[in-house]
């Protein structure tokens, strides 16, 4: 009996030890979020019971869990949109596990099976990513391998099908994506360049999409190849990046089934030193929409990502007219200067003064008819001819803005911004027939630090335009008790609307509580119709009235 007991203890000990050493290396983390909206009818905004259509509530939620044990990791994400909150694609409605993966990673090799995200270079030929706040997810479901044969060389290969809301992939239901990318950091590979101040990285990618041709009228390419090459150089305070992408003809709903090849070029040059940063970026895009289903339009099934270059604005009125890339063709540039007037100078004061200057403009590309008898962009033809260096007079977007931020003393600081905007609302938001919006926008954001943890923040903004919905004013007061509580009241007032009946106020009141990584926020009031953009993707948000609740945590 005693012997058995001792043996048992010994066994237990051994198991305990090995289990413990395994458990020591294992790690579980995750996150969880729910966004809920409760809608109320609001006659002034034109929201009646029938508009809500019985859907008094929208709920978007997800739970994410990742398990890691040594070189092995696995994870999954549950999502539910029951029903999706206002402004999300109705195809989001549903629930399940759209993201499940297992992967094995060593220093030189990593393999993943299941769903994954990946980006080659700037994403001009391949980028799969996810943006929860917009309901955007084009993850690949398949296999991914990355291999590093020697230090400084990275090779990636992917293959799979893309997520399309809740539609399961079936034979011929949509395309299959395959791709490979290689990147070489010359300074790591060439011993003679190891210590050089001049750094250069080269990269190249190839992506192919396969989708069967079931079209009754056209012979369509079933395998569409896209290729990109890039270079990244830095020397002292200068940085240069350029990437060029080419795609063979790929007739689709987005380009009206023309047989033209696609091209894109993205370049940037920057100079920066302490207190000063300057960057100039240029871009040309011609017929570069690349989706894994040629019949799909809108924000889904994108294989490539064409980044818009303009500044992403953070205030409600400067962000009212956000630009979105026109994948069928655009040519743009952007310039930005950040300068910090040094501490101690007359203008710099005790803390220094920050200045940011930004200009961007995007035009359409020039398009010429391929011959006398074919209209520009006619389906089933080569579409049009376009000189690589020629732009059209048609301006899609122009934004000039200046921002100054200044800390006066330990209690007060302020941001002031002015923006001049030209926005082709007919092209960018599809509101055909509407005049381009020319607007002036000014704002100030003042923070008063009452004591070490309490602060008050005020925002005052104005937007002046004769087009679209006319003039707007906005104000906000926020009281925060760091690091946990905040309370805010805000109003947006469309006082310049030509239609006197639509000169509405959009009052909101909100409060929030943060404890470590748990956040609860509650907002009451009205939401103005608008566009929410994160990264490169935008989502139209309809006007609504009601209560919004956000609960999120992370462990």
């Amino acid at each position: 009996m005693k012997r058995i007991f001792l043996a048992f203890i010994l066994l237990f000990f051994v198991i305990g030890l090995s289990a413990q050493s395994l458990l020591d290396q294992s790690r579980v983390n995750g996150s969880f979020q729910i966004d809920g909206q409760f809608y109320m009818p609001d006659n002034e905004l034109g929201i009646t019971d029938s508009v809500i259509g019985g859907r008094k509530m929208g709920l978007n939620g997800f739970g994410n869990i990742t398990y890691t044990l040594g070189n092995f990791s696995a994870g999954m994400r549950y999502e539910a949109y029951l029903t999706p909150i206002a402004g999300f694609d109705p195809a989001q409605e549903g629930n399940g596990f759209p993201y499940v993966y297992a992967s094995y990673n060593t220093e030189n090799l990593s393999v993943t099976a299941g769903n994954f995200y990946e980006q080659f270079g700037n994403g001009l030929v391949l980028r799969s990513y996810e943006e929860w706040t917009l309901g955007y997810d084009n993850s690949l479901n398949g296999l991914k391998a990355t291999y590093r044969p020697v230090k400084g060389v990275n090779i990636k290969a992917v293959y799979g099908s893309q997520r399309y809301y809740w539609q399961k992939f079936e034979r011929n239901s949509r395309g299959i994506v395959r791709g490979a990318d290689a990147e070489v950091e010359l300074n790591e590979v060439l011993p003679s360049m190891n210590t050089s101040d001049f750094r250069i990285t080269l990269g190249g990618s190839a992506v192919s999409k396969f989708q069967r041709d079931a079209d009754p009228s056209y012979f369509l390419p079933e395998n569409v190849g896209a290729f990109a090459g890039r270079v990244n150089m830095s020397a002292g305070k200068f940085n240069f990046m350029s990437e060029y992408a080419y795609k063979i003809n790929d007739p689709s709903s987005t380009n009206n089934f023309i047989y033209k090849e696609g091209q894109a070029l993205l370049s940037s040059l920057s100079y920066s030193q302490r207190g000063l940063g300057i960057i100039l970026q240029v871009k040309r895009v011609d017929n570069m929409s690349f989706k894994s289903d040629r019949g799909v339009t809108g924000n889904a099934l994108d294989i490539s990502f064409i980044p818009p270059l303009n500044r992403i604005h953070s205030y409600s009125l400067t962000g009212r007219y956000p630009y979105a890339t026109q994948p069928n063709g655009e040519m743009g540039l952007q310039f930005q200067l950040n300068y910090k007037i040094p501490k101690g100078s007359t203008l710099g004061g005790k803390y220094g003064t920050g200045i940011a200057l930004n200009f961007s403009q995007v035009n359409d590309i020039q398009r010429l008819a391929i011959n006398d008898s074919t209209a520009i962009g006619q389906d089933g033809t080569l579409g049009y001819k376009s000189d690589f260096f020629k732009v059209s007079d048609h301006i899609f977007f122009r934004d000039f803005n200046v921002e100054v931020d200044k800390k006066f003393n330990s209690k007060w600081k302020a941001v002031v911004q002015y923006m001049n905007l030209l926005f082709d609302i007919a092209t960018i938001q599809g509101k055909s027939g509407q005049e381009p919006v020319k607007a002036n926008i000014a704002l100030t954001d003042v923070t008063w630090r009452i004591n070490s943890t309490r602060s008050l923040r005020f925002e005052l903004q104005g937007l002046w335009t004769k087009q679209d919905k006319g003039n707007w004013a906005a104000g906000l007061i926020e009281y925060a008790i760091a690091p946990q509580w905040f309370f805010a009241v805000a109003d947006q007032y469309n006082y310049g609307n030509k239609d006197v009946n639509h000169r509405n106020h959009y009052f909101t009141g909100s409060l929030g509580y943060n404890k470590d990584t748990t956040r609860i926020a509650l907002t009451f009031g009205r939401q103005a119709e608008g566009v929410v953009c994160v990264g490169g993707v935008c989502r139209q948000v309809p006007a609504s009235s009601g209560i919004t609740l956000t609960l999120s945590t992370n462990f």
Partner: protein, 165 residues
């Protein structure tokens, strides 16, 4: 009795193994100059680390990092803390990060996570999201959102980790 105690200790040791030992996951991201960077290299010789996720479009994030920057020299002197700021800006603005960081005169290390690989591995959803990591590379605290003064509370925790009064 002795045997029982022995068993109890064994049991306890086994259960203790279940306790969370959260370290930074290892993924490859980029330095601000575009070179590959392994997150295993986020280290500070046994001293505390602040790891903060931010983006160019996020005002509160930049206010938080400005506040860190104002205090950084003093914090480093007192506790040896090191700050890493991870930008989750995507291809549309990764090239603007370096000029902005220099323009603002930020002194800490800035990394680029253009396709959110590091963000996902750490389950970061909203930014700013700031982690406090101890000298052994374990995550000991994390926080989302920034308000004026939040940096003081964080620094109290840094001081405690570094054993500074």
């Amino acid at each position: 009795m002795n045997k029982l105690f022995f068993v109890f200790v064994l049991l306890f040791a086994t259960v203790a193994g279940f306790a969370q030992q959260t370290e930074i996951p290892v993924v490859t991201i980029k330095t601000i100059n575009g070179q590959n960077f392994s997150t295993a290299d986020i280290t500070n010789n046994g001293k505390p680390i602040i790891l903060s996720f931010w983006a160019l479009w996020c005002k509160p994030c930049q206010k938080e990092l400005d506040a860190f920057n104002e205090n950084y020299a003093e914090w480093q002197k007192e506790t040896g803390v090191k700050i890493f700021a991870v930008s989750i800006d995507d291809a549309r603005s990764t090239n603007k990060v370096l000029p902005l960081v220099n323009g603002k005169g930020w002194e800490f290390e800035v990394l680029l996570d253009a396709n959110s690989d590091f963000k996902r591995a750490l389950n970061v959803n909203m930014i700013p999201h700031t982690f406090l990591i101890d000298g052994n590379g374990k995550i000991v605290a994390q926080h989302t959102s920034y308000f004026e003064g939040s940096e003081l509370e964080l620094y109290e925790k840094v001081k405690k980790l570094a054993g500074v009064k």
